[in-house]
Amino acid sequence: MHVRKIGLFDIINTAIMLGILIIMLYPMLNVLSVSFSGVTKLGLGLLPQSFTLKNYQIVFNNKALWIGFSNTLVRVGLGVFSTLIITLLMAYPLSKKALPFKKVITFFVVFTMFFNGGLIPNYIVVRSLGLIDSRLALILPRLVDTFALIVMRNFLMTIPDSLEEAAKIDGASYFTILFKIIVPISIPIIATVVLWTAVWHWNSWFDAMIYIQSQSKQVLQLILRRIVIEGTASAMSLSMDDANTVANPDMIKATTIIVSTLPIVCSYPFLQKYFVKGIIVGSVKE
């Protein structure tokens, strides 16, 4: 039994942790506070100055932001679905010990983790396929994430063959076995891969920046980038009237950050364990 006595070490250690907590939270709470401020916030305090909801009113009226939201949702949905199917279809055969060419195919896949064509050849391939300004350009180039594939395969390797044997004797095809037997017992790892892929798609912007031209197809992160990083007034959809009343675009930037990040921050605490599980599974040496 450990001796449960709180010593000097515990006090210092707890203080360090609280310090870290403050450092982690401060930048986020600061943005939150600015988003509710009516005037430029000065000082270290985290309370909004001249509390107002006007910033939210302006941001909610920004049509581009809502277009971005819906495009990102479409992207996440399509991306997650296609990635999951193709990853399962690859991971399952590769988890079979006696699969012919297994070594060659595994090497073929893993090699891409260490060497790739780089930005320019990838761009040329996507453009040559005629995918410029197509939503497919946001999904196909990252259809399979090799790391997720390996994690999935490692999980499937731990499923005993005996589970499939009865079905095999009944004449079930491997496709039936995969979707009727394997998938239901692999829900934890599937959840992890789904969440990884969803977050990846939610946060992606570079591919949209180089491949997507139409405003109507633009994703949330890129619209956010125009507002927050490039500070484009037109992207903030400030009318002349708004531009006059809003003293400082910082407040609009902060509000836009809050609105577009809220979905992730709210769902994150409930989903966190799947992410953590995934990274632990993934870090176990094969």
Partner: protein, 308 residues
């Protein structure tokens, strides 16, 4: 057992019978890897050609090593290359030990609520894009922002973090640590959980205090994980973080912040020097590969822990 293994092995060289369905399942994935990974790898040949979209990978004329000569004659290439190494090293030296320390300290926290809260909060930034974080940190590091407020409070001169080359390095390294510290500690925390409690009990009977236990048991038990993570991290030195730098930098800080990936992007996709940019990128990718294999070798020669 051994016999059946041998038996199946013999069988699968003879025929693919029974495996047609499984091999069929692999087809879409393999096509994906060919089109989106191996065709671009083949496309690297444009580094030795003058690429134009009209002529394609195959039809563009060969120019030999012309782009590499151009690269080595170009002072801005050296600047970019140096920045990449400096930032990579800074991030490694500062960013690598912190998650280990953080994991060890978190593990020693006895109040479960504090422990859980710190963990949850510290993992969160991993899920936020650099665009969101960029927006947050522009305010934090601005001339009237909280950091400069503190500097003023202690009587210092405010620093233009975002527009002065040297202070901008601080921004890059500290925001990197802020974003990745929690997430990178997960692996170590998992490894610490795996340490046998008997070791600690034996040490306590021998009269070891908290620090001795951390130093003599926790840290040595983590060595294999630390080695593997160090190999991976060292291999990343030259793979700069495009998302971070591209969203935080501006021409005023190119002197210290422009790195290979941002340079390749601007050269290739903004100025459309496709072949030249591909040559620079290829050079980086080869060095990165050498780094990963090199560090793995070193680790293997020191102890038995390697990544493969």
């Amino acid at each position: 057992m051994k016999q059946t293994l041998l038996h199946t092995k013999k069988l699968h060289y003879k025929s693919l019978k029974g495996y047609e369905q499984l091999l069929l399942m692999l087809v879409p994935g393999i096509l994906y890897y060919i089109i989106f990974h191996y065709v671009p790898i083949y496309g690297i040949i444009i580094a030795f050609k003058n690429f134009s979209f009209r002529r394609g990978f195959l039809g563009s004329p060969w120019v030999g090593l012309a782009h590499f000569r151009l690269m080595f004659d170009n002072p801005s290439f050296y600047e970019v290359f140096g920045n990449t190494l400096v930032l990579g090293l800074l991030k490694l030296v500062i960013g690598f030990p912190i998650p280990i320390l953080f994991a060890i300290l978190i593990n020693e926290i006895r109040f479960t609520k504090i422990k859980k809260t710190v963990q949850t909060v510290s993992y969160l930034p991993h899920f936020l894009s650099w665009i969101v974080l960029g927006g947050m940190f522009f305010q934090i590091f601005s001339i009237y922002g909280p950091i400069n407020e503190i500097i003023r409070f202690f009587g210092g001169e405010p620093i233009r973090f975002m527009t002065e080359p040297k202070p901008f390095r601080i921004v890059l390294v500290s925001t990197y640590v802020w974003k990745s510290m929690g997430w990178n500690s997960i692996v170590y925390l998992a490894a610490i959980t795996g340490i046998s409690p008997e070791l600690y009990e034996a040490a306590m009977i021998d009269g070891a205090n908290r620090f001795q236990r951390m130093w003599r048991i926790t840290l040595p038990s983590l060595t294999p994980v630390i080695t593997v993570m160090l190999i991976l991290a060292a291999g990343q030195i030259i793979k700069d973080d495009f998302d971070q730098i591209f969203n935080l930098y501006n021409p005023a800080v190119y002197e210290t912040a422009d790195v290979i990936s941002t340079y390749v992007y601007r050269q290739g996709l903004e100025m459309m020097n496709y072949s030249y940019a591909a040559a620079v990128d290829l050079f980086k990718n080869i060095i990165a590969l050498v780094f990963v294999f090199g560090t793995n070798r070193v680790a293997k020669s020191m102890n038995e822990y390697g990544i493969w």
